[in-house]
């Protein structure tokens, strides 16, 4: 289980959407009592940026490319300042050509480089899906193991900022169904800081999803980065009555729902999936075996979702542990609408998760 960081989610999720206000580079080092590690105040965005700086500094084979990663500073300001630090060859602005530059990343990876390709949002990644699916994910197998594609493809996902359908979809579950790639979704500061390193070292393609409403998540991290894995799920809150399974943007909502329920003496355990492919079945089943009830939270559409896959696995592997039907809280099956009240209604909310939990706890077994 990874170490917890203290964090707060910025209330107005819209402000962080694209290009955050100038962020301070100085880390405020807090005076540290002897055993506590020195900490730094940071955000999800800055933690991602630090992770890039680390891999770029450490490994000359690493380079970043994508639309507006350089001069603009990254459409979500993740790469702000990296061009100045690492130069044009390693922080490459690309034309609007998702398929070409993602494919070029694959080619460079075949030749032994370690590209990080940034696609602004998962919605636009559909223009590169052919390259990701038919080349990146497939070349190793189709070549009988001769080829290796060690690249990282980063993209923003998620809704909640009134950006309407073409900018708000959560398609990570689709990617999680593709053999040949690893899919990761940091939801905490330490994962934003820690997951890129092992992803770059992975000999196979890794798709990393950054949730758009997490960029301004702020809190503290140890000055010396904590090593995290890209294999396992993490229990973010221990509980005894019910298991919430969430990831990325859903984690904060699941934790909020657990708070609501604590006041009603319902103790919820909260699992952060972290890795969407391959799924960490062991952590999920161990929790279900303890609590016997499950709510799965997914910002994607319910039909054919990651929530559906997890639900099926629980039924396959832990059916006799269940005391109540599995509950799923997913997005409504509608292209995400612009109007605030409709968008909120389309997305899973903490209150929906709590209501599902009450149903499960109330159900008898």
């Amino acid at each position: 289980m990874s170490r917890r960081s203290t964090m707060t989610v910025a209330k107005d999720a819209a402000v962080e959407a694209v290009t955050a206000p100038e962020v301070s580079r100085e880390a405020s080092r807090e005076a540290s009592p002897e055993e506590a590690p020195a900490t730094v105040t940071t955000t999800y965005r800055e933690a991602l940026r630090e992770a890039h700086r680390e891999v770029l500094a450490r490994d000359p084979r690493v380079f970043l490319m994508g639309e507006d990663v350089g001069r603009y500073g990254g459409s979500f300001a993740v790469s702000l300042g990296l061009l100045e630090e690492f130069g044009e060859e390693r922080i490459r602005d690309t034309p609007l050509s998702e398929s070409a530059f993602t494919g070029a990343g694959i080619g460079a990876a075949l030749r032994g480089l370690r590209p990080i390709v940034e696609i602004m949002t998962v919605n636009f990644s559909l223009l590169a899906l052919d390259q990701i699916m038919n080349n990146a994910a497939t070349l190793r197998h189709m070549s009988g193991g001769q080829l290796s594609v060690p690249m990282v493809i980063r993209m923003t996902t998620g809704a909640g900022r009134q950006l309407a359908a073409q900018h708000s979809h959560s398609l990570e579950g689709w990617y999680a169904s593709i053999p040949g790639i690893r899919v990761i979704a940091p939801a905490t500061l330490e994962d934003a800081r820690g997951m890129l390193g092992p992803a770059v070292e992975d000999p196979d393609p890794v798709v990393l999803f950054e949730h758009g409403s997490l960029y301004n998540l702020s809190g503290t991290l140890p000055v010396d980065p904590v090593r995290v894995d890209i294999e396992s799920a993490a229990v973010r809150r221990a509980g005894t009555d019910i298991t919430f399974i969430a990831y990325a943007g859903g984690l904060g909502k699941a934790l909020a729902a657990a708070d609501l329920l604590a006041a009603e003496s319902i103790s919820a355990e909260v699992i952060d999936l972290r890795v969407l492919r391959p799924l960490d079945d062991a952590t999920i089943m161990a929790s279900v075996t303890r609590t016997h009830r499950v709510v799965i939270v997914d910002e994607a559409w319910r039909t054919g979702s990651l929530a559906a896959e997890i639900s099926a696995r629980i039924v396959e592997q832990a059916f006799f542990e269940l005391d109540a039907p599995i509950e799923r809280v997913c997005a409504a099956e509608v292209p995400v609408p612009y109007a605030h009240h409709l968008e909120e209604a389309a997305l899973p909310q903490a209150e929906d998760i709590a209501a599902a939990a009450r149903r499960a706890v109330g159900a008898h077994g």
């Binding site: 639309e67 500073g73 034309p95 609007l96 109007a339």
Partner: protein
């Protein structure tokens, strides 16, 4: 043309540019007041393209646009109150509050949006033109897009298809020299976009996109050519956005002096100056005329804001409407939705 006709044409173009400019300036205010949310992309500086191109179309023609489409929609005659209400997320909006600023639609005016996937509208424009071609219609589909979109495969595939099949598409590339923060020369190895479009076998030429009269004349010629030949045509309209890419963009990638230089060719004062130099109005008449127009336009904008404010929200119960056809909607086939 007689003096009166010139005066009428020029002041008509000027009035529409002023209308769009002031509408968008109001949008900035409303965005700060959080009445408008999400992404907001302005065409301030590029009004000559919206007015010159879209104003030249006939009712039967179709328009396919991008997320930077307020000017296109207004010039097409989409009613201002329905645009404003859309940006307020209201039920009376031209897309029922589901689209917002980037997704204005008005099927009755053949205004097919409002596409926020860069280059995503282009193949659709080809299909609209294919249908017109197959039904022996003389309508032209105008497809507006940016210099950034020109780099996408979807542009190149669409251009080839339209040329190969002789389809009545007028491709209008609004070259404002930037795709977000990426300057033209950093996105294209060869920046002569019209020349590259011509390589697909289309008639193509470059137009001063800051000169509304030049844009209008070029569009008239292009439309005539497309209607007569049934073949596609390409206009590269050289223009500039005075504002940042969107309300989130801190505009770090451009020199202030570059913006200032382009502002010298602001299409609105440029046409006012022409009215004077052509002897159609005296400077004092221009002043008076402009004050009158601004008052009218401001009243129209104020009324649009007021009605948008007062308009109802779409009921939450209707969340799942318009996903598939209304007939099936009653049963809400795939209404699965949330966990209840």
């Amino acid at each position: 043309m007689t003096r009166e006709l010139f005066l009428e044409l020029f002041t008509g173009l000027l009035r529409e540019m002023i209308r769009i400019r002031r509408f968008e300036e109001k949008c900035v205010e409303l965005y700060s007041a959080t009445k408008i949310r999400g992404f907001l992309h302005l065409c301030i500086g590029e009004e000559a393209v919206a007015v010159g191109v879209v104003g030249a179309l006939s009712e039967d023609d179709a328009v396919v646009s991008t997320y930077r489409e307020h000017g296109h929609a207004l010039a097409r005659g989409v009613p201002m109150p329905s645009i404003m209400a859309e940006m307020f997320g209201k039920a009376t909006g031209c897309s029922g509050g589901r689209g917002g600023s980037m997704h204005l639609f008005d099927a009755s005016r053949r205004f097919y949006g409002g596409n926020a996937i860069v280059a995503g509208g282009m193949p659709v424009a080809v299909g609209l033109a294919l249908a017109d071609h197959l039904s022996d219609d003389r309508a032209v589909t105008v497809c507006l897009f940016g210099d950034g979109a020109f780099a996408e495969g979807e542009f190149h595939e669409s251009a080839n298809l339209a040329a190969l099949w002789n389809l009545p598409v007028l491709f209008c590339c609004e070259n404002n020299r930037y795709a977000m923060g990426t300057a033209l020369a950093r996105e294209h190895a060869s920046t002569d976009l019209a020349m590259r479009a011509a390589a697909y076998g289309m008639v193509a030429w470059t137009v001063d996109g800051m000169d509304v009269i030049a844009v209008r004349e070029a569009t008239d010629r292009a439309l005539e050519y497309v209607r007569d030949s049934g073949k596609p045509c390409f206009l590269e309209l050289r223009t500039y956005r005075f504002r940042a890419h969107s309300m989130y963009d801190p505009d770090r990638y451009r020199d202030k002096s570059e913006i200032a230089t382009w502002k010298k060719s602001d299409p609105i004062p440029a046409l006012e100056a022409k009215l004077v130099s052509d002897g159609l109005m005296t400077p004092a008449e221009v002043e008076r005329w402009r004050a009158g127009v601004e008052a009218e336009v401001d009243a129209e904008i104020a009324a649009a804001v007021e009605s948008a404010d007062a308009a109802p929200l779409e009921p939450v119960e209707d969340l799942l409407r318009h996903v598939t056809t209304e007939a099936a909607d009653g049963v809400a086939l795939l209404a699965g939705g949330r966990s209840t």
